[in-house]
């Protein structure tokens, strides 16, 4: 313990020769001192403790054993196979066909698919039609009648001569046209939000915006009734998702409370996940006011999909925020489409400037695909301008037509008319009682049976000069498949007479279909 360790001194590294002597002396002493302390410490600690020495020797032995021991892969249970065995397995493997065979009903659907000849609008001609009488179109989302607007088409010719058709590049690489920037400003101003970004397809807008902000570890509380684009976007975002009952604010509040409680319990204040409420608007109208209140109370953000409500709801037609008198800034990310009521193509997202700029680099559909063709951009701009300039030429007409259509449809026996009274998107279904009555044997209805009846109904209506379509879904990918329905889209461009004709056609089709036993 006591003997001085002077003998070790020469072993300590000495600084290079050129240094001042004083400095060398200091380093020397410091090094010497610490070295001695170390040795003394070790000696002291093992002096009267053989058990400790033994334990540590064992530990070192264990570490050496652990390091040198054969490695294994965690989590895989791969079997080592010889080359010959692999070859045999390869020969044996028979994949399923790339796509399954179509069912009989699907084949029929394909054969009877609507094919339009000439322009789409309130009146269309079918390519298959033997007589050249046009049909009244209640199948396209032409709520404001912009498809029939000759000015937009005329302007499109001019745009073609200036911008050509394709933009030949993503917005980042010389694909941003001046008309894109103008339309972005116009949309933002029309809705009353700060800034907007354009996507070249409505589906892709939803698919890009949600994963752009909500990542793994974030939390999404979504309406059960959201459509497939949102479901897919949530899947792509890999966030944790909770579903609340469609438009049920009490259920939403319960979930929000639960989520916050869990987060609080985790005590993870500094890794606060981004939380979103996602909702969308179709036949039913979301109670946005309540939603905003819940948002503030539970500190969530709102993502709202206005695929169908933009251009339709509200006094100005600016969508749900306009309709429910909510400041658009309360909706953190507002997604809308330009392909339905506006009659162009593509979608957009309105948000604060920072969030939009973030999307210009991280929005997948924005970065990785060509921008919207100039013609369609200008068509969208024209339509919005027309709507903004004189909402009264479009909206009151549409609301009247909607009210008339709904009242007429409701009078039809055996028919169930769904959706908010103000929504021009009407889903009609056969009531369960009617369906029971129609089945001769009293057996259960399968979904295909109902679909087939609805397809017949659509065909019957076509004979009366009205074009309808069953609402189509990819059944196997929908989370909660809505009940089969026929979708009727009322347009402001329809006349009163045409609405009556449509309702009448539906009525006679229903009576013809329901009288048939099967």
């Amino acid at each position: 313990m006591d003997p001085p360790l002077d003998t070790l001194a020469p072993l300590t590294p000495s600084p290079s020769a050129g240094d001042p002597a004083a400095e060398r002396g200091f380093f020397h002493t410091a090094w010497d001192f610490s070295f001695r302390m170390g040795i003394r410490y070790i000696k002291n600690s093992y002096k009267d403790d053989p058990f400790r020495t033994f334990l540590e020797v064992c530990l070192i032995g264990f570490i050496i054993w652990y390091i040198t021991k054969q490695k294994y892969n965690i989590g895989t249970n791969e079997i080592t196979l010889s080359e010959k065995e692999v070859d045999e397995l390869v020969d044996d493997w028979k994949p399923e066909p790339l796509v399954p065979d179509l069912t009989e009903f699907e084949r029929e659907t394909l054969e009877k698919a609507i094919m339009i000849e000439g322009p789409n609008g309130t009146k269309v001609r079918l390519a298959s039609a033997t007589n050249s009488k046009p049909l009244l179109n209640f199948a396209s989302y032409n709520f404001l009648g912009f498809l029939d607007n000759p000015d937009i088409e005329k302007h499109a010719h001019e745009t073609l001569r200036k911008y050509g058709v394709g933009s030949c590049g993503p917005p980042g690489f010389y694909g941003t046209l001046d008309v894109h920037m103008e339309l972005e400003k116009q949309v933002a101003a029309f809705i009353g939000h700060s800034t907007a970004i354009l996507y070249s397809q409505a589906f892709a807008a939803t698919l890009s915006v949600i994963p752009c902000f909500s990542k793994r570890g974030d939390i999404i509380v979504a309406d059960e009734g959201v459509n497939l684009p949102i479901q897919q976007a949530i899947m792509l975002s890999r966030s944790k998702v909770y579903w609340y009952k469609h438009n049920d604010m009490a259920d939403l509040e319960r979930i929000l409370k639960d989520v916050n409680k869990q987060l609080h319990g985790r005590g993870a204040k500094n890794v606060l996940p981004r939380k979103f409420i996602i909702t969308r608007n179709t036949g039913d109208i979301t109670p946005l006011k309540d939603l905003v209140e819940l948002k503030h109370r539970y500190k969530f953000r709102i993502i709202l999909d206005e695929a169908y409500s933009f251009g339709v709801l509200g006094k100005r037609g600016a969508g749900l925020t306009d309709h429910s008198n909510v400041d658009p800034h309360e909706v953190d990310l507002l997604i809308g489409s330009l392909c339905n009521s506006i009659g162009a193509s593509g979608g957009f997202c309105c948000a604060d400037k920072d969030l939009i700029e973030h999307q210009r680099l991280s929005g997948l559909g924005y970065c990785y695909s060509a921008s919207m063709p100039g013609i369609l951009t200008v068509a969208a701009a024209d339509a919005i301008q027309a709507l903004e300039a004189s909402p009264d030429t479009y909206l009151p007409n549409m609301h009247e037509n909607t009210a008339l259509m709904r009242s007429l449809l409701k009078r039809i026996p055996g028919l169930q008319v769904d959706g908010d009274p103000e929504s021009p998107l009407i889903h009609i279904r056969l009531t369960p009682e009617t369906l029971v009555r129609m089945k001769r044997s009293g057996g259960a209805w399968t979904k295909t049976d109902i679909d087939r009846v609805l397809a017949e109904l659509v065909e019957e209506a076509q004979k009366d000069g009205v074009l309808l379509t069953p609402a189509k879904y990819v059944d196997e990918h929908e989370r909660l498949l809505p009940n089969s329905s026929i979708r009727i889209c009322v347009s402001s461009a329809h006349t009163r007479k045409e609405i009556e004709k449509c309702a009448h056609a539906v009525k006679s089709a229903v009576s013809r279909i329901t009288s048939k036993k099967r």
């Binding site: 079997i79 692999v86 390869v90 493997w93 994949p95 796509v99 399954p100 179509l102 698919a113 609507i114 000849e117 000439g118 789409n120 390519a127 396209s140 989302y141 032409n142 088409e153 499109a156 010719h157 073609l160 001569r161 200036k162 911008y163 050509g164 058709v165 394709g166 933009s167 030949c168 010389y174 941003t176 046209l177 070249s200 397809q201 409505a202 589906f203 497939l228 897919q232 899947m235 606060l272 996940p273 500190k299 953000r301 392909c339 009659g343 162009a344 193509s345 920072d354 973030h358 210009r360 997948l364 990785y368 695909s369 060509a370 919207m372 063709p373 013609i375 379509t469 990819v474 990918h477």
Partner: protein, 579 residues
């Protein structure tokens, strides 16, 4: 038509092509080379391939003097197997590698330093990154570091707005920034610059000419849009006819048209594979393919870029081991590759993949976003280039954005596949149907390429030739100047390696000064080390355009010291000649 008559017509057509070309096969003269096409030539019956062969033959014999160049072009004409091409990156001087990594390190260190002091001194500017009254920040601090501190410095090189058509030349809206790229101000001036950036391979981005006329006529007859999905009321006769034409063009039984390129992959792959299936994907596949694969719910595995050995290993292991944990056999295996990798300018090794497909029985999905229309003698994409029967590929996907000057994409394949997709693909059931002008543009340009347009029977083939010649000429000249280029010969995409992060914006800005629009890409779109500039060559570029660009690029190359291969040029030409 008698044989003799036909021969004279062939002669006439080649004569026409010949007299407009010089030794490199480039068309000289007016700015718009297509104006040269005889507008009333009725030689629909001309065997275009024969004509082409004849033209090639005569051009080879006519130009004896510049022997080395033609020899080089001739050897590069034949599709060469990829494996023999040595990796460019192996020959990168280590000095460049070290300095590139060092500059990135410095950038990142400075980014963090600026953030640190910024937050200390101007906390109000960083409000967005902090938790605010119970809300988590929308964009996390770390995620946005790259955007704020690195991308922000070079923002002026991206999203440059244009007006008009992105053709061979493009009109840029000039903009300036007075606050280090935080905001831009438009000066109101418009600059016409040479466009080496847009995917306008065949030069169909035009607002005049036969295609635009067809589009206008189509809009007159069919309106503009459908406001409905393809599965409901969005199918028009025009759409159905265009789908048939696409199928005929690609050489499959049927096709399905989707209104957006990204969506073509992202929304259709989920209809093909699902849980219990396996997707084996090239590591450099486009993001839309990655999105589609992730949405499908299938297991995803990756093989090394264009490395057939890696693919085969992955296949053998996957098939023999089956699904993870359960060892059940996979339901299906879908191998997803791209025809032409747009960041690399490389073709996929399709012949080898097709051989593997025969052995292992997987399904093959080829994304021809960039190759359709641009590759192959007849412009039919990578299958045409490698002389492979399109039926050997199960799913052929492509876009109309690039070669056809339109937008959107297609999926082509067997009738059973397309019929299934028409009912089960998300794009057909939920997304808007393709609009009329875009459809008309697709059908007009495609008819022209196929030579079915009676009035412009030769023009399509002429554009294809022109593109092939332009692309080879441009790539060869760059290599001769000592630049380090990537990609296969004949690819209309020519990437040029810049490496250092500082040279990336410098190149773009210098080009813009000299009236050339280029695309520069860096991490995260490429590996961190290989920042590059990507030239997209078009059939609408004339010889003067290319020479102008080459001259200035050479100047910039000297300025930025990026001619890494200088001095080795003669050697490479020599070896090519010997081969």
């Amino acid at each position: 038509m008698g044989k003799g008559q036909r021969a004279t017509q062939v002669y006439k057509s080649t004569e026409f092509i010949e007299h407009a070309r010089d030794s490199d096969g480039l068309i000289n003269g007016p700015a718009d080379p297509f104006k040269l096409a005889p507008s009333n030539s009725s030689s629909l019956l001309v065997d275009s391939e024969k004509a082409l062969k004849a033209s090639k033959l005569s051009s080879a014999s006519a130009s004896v003097e510049p022997a080395p160049t033609t020899a080089a072009a001739a050897t590069s004409n034949s599709p060469s197997p990829q494996a023999e091409r040595p990796s460019e990156l192996e020959s990168v001087p280590s000095f460049i590698l070290v300095t590139t990594y060092l500059s990135f390190l410095m950038l990142i260190v400075f980014a963090h330093l600026r953030d640190f002091f910024g937050k200390l001194l101007h906390p109000e500017e960083y409000v967005q990154l902090r938790e605010q009254n119970g809300y988590a920040p929308m964009v996390s601090d770390f995620e946005s570091l790259w955007t704020r501190r690195l991308y922000g410095r070079i923002r002026d090189c991206f999203n440059r707005p244009i007006t008009g058509v992105a053709g061979g030349h493009v009109n840029l809206l000039e903009r300036v920034s007075h606050d280090a790229n935080a905001t831009f101000e438009f000066t109101g001036r418009v600059r016409n610059v040479l466009n080496l950036a847009s995917y306008n391979y065949l030069g169909f981005a035009q607002s005049e000419g036969p295609c635009a006329d067809k589009v206008e006529q189509a809009m007159r007859e069919n309106g503009v849009t459908q406001a409905s999905t393809r599965a409901e009321a969005g199918t028009t006769r025009l759409l159905a006819e265009t789908e048939d034409m696409v199928a005929r063009f690609v050489g499959t039984e049927a096709s399905l048209i989707v209104s957006m390129g990204y969506a073509t992959n992202a929304l259709n792959i989920p209809a093909l594979v699902s849980r219990g299936c396996l997707i084996i994907s090239d590591e450099l596949n486009h993001n839309s393919l990655v999105s589609g694969a992730r949405l499908s719910g299938a297991t995803i595995r990756v093989f090394k870029h264009n490395n057939m050995q890696s693919l085969e290993e992955q296949l053998r292991r996957s098939i023999s081991q089956g699904q993870p944990r359960t060892h059940r056999p996979w339901k299906k295996i879908l191998v997803v590759v791209e025809g032409l990798y747009s960041m690399e300018g490389e073709f996929c090794d399709l012949p080898a993949i097709v051989r593997l497909r025969r052995r292992y029985g997987f399904y093959l999905f080829v994304d021809e976003a960039h190759s359709i229309g641009a590759l192959g003698k007849r412009g039919r994409g990578v299958c045409d280039h490698f002389n492979i029967d399109p039926h050997d590929v199960d799913v052929l996907m492509g876009t109309f954005t690039k070669s056809f000057g339109a937008a959107g994409g297609y999926i082509a394949g067997s009738k059973a596949l397309i019929n299934y997709l028409r009912l089960h693909s998300h794009s057909a059931v939920y997304a808007e149907a393709m609009s009329v002008p875009v459809l008309a543009q697709v059908s007009a340009s495609m008819r022209m390429i196929m030579g079915e347009d009676r009035e412009h029977a030769l023009e399509g083939q002429q554009r294809l030739d022109q593109l092939a010649v332009n692309a080879r000429y441009f790539a060869r000249r760059l290599a001769e100047m000592g630049f380090m280029t990537l990609g296969d010969s004949g690819s209309p995409v020519v990437p040029l390696l810049l490496f250092s992060p500082a040279k990336i914006p410098a190149f773009s800005r210098e080009c813009l000064k000299r009236k050339i629009a280029v695309v520069v890409v860096s991490y995260p779109a490429t590996p961190i080390i290989t920042g590059r500039v990507r030239f997209c060559i078009s059939a609408s570029h004339t010889r003067e355009d290319l020479d102008y660009a080459l001259e200035h690029i050479s100047e910039i190359g000297d300025l930025l010291m990026i001619k890494f291969h200088q001095g080795k040029t003669i050697e490479t030409t020599e070896t090519k000649k010997l081969e």
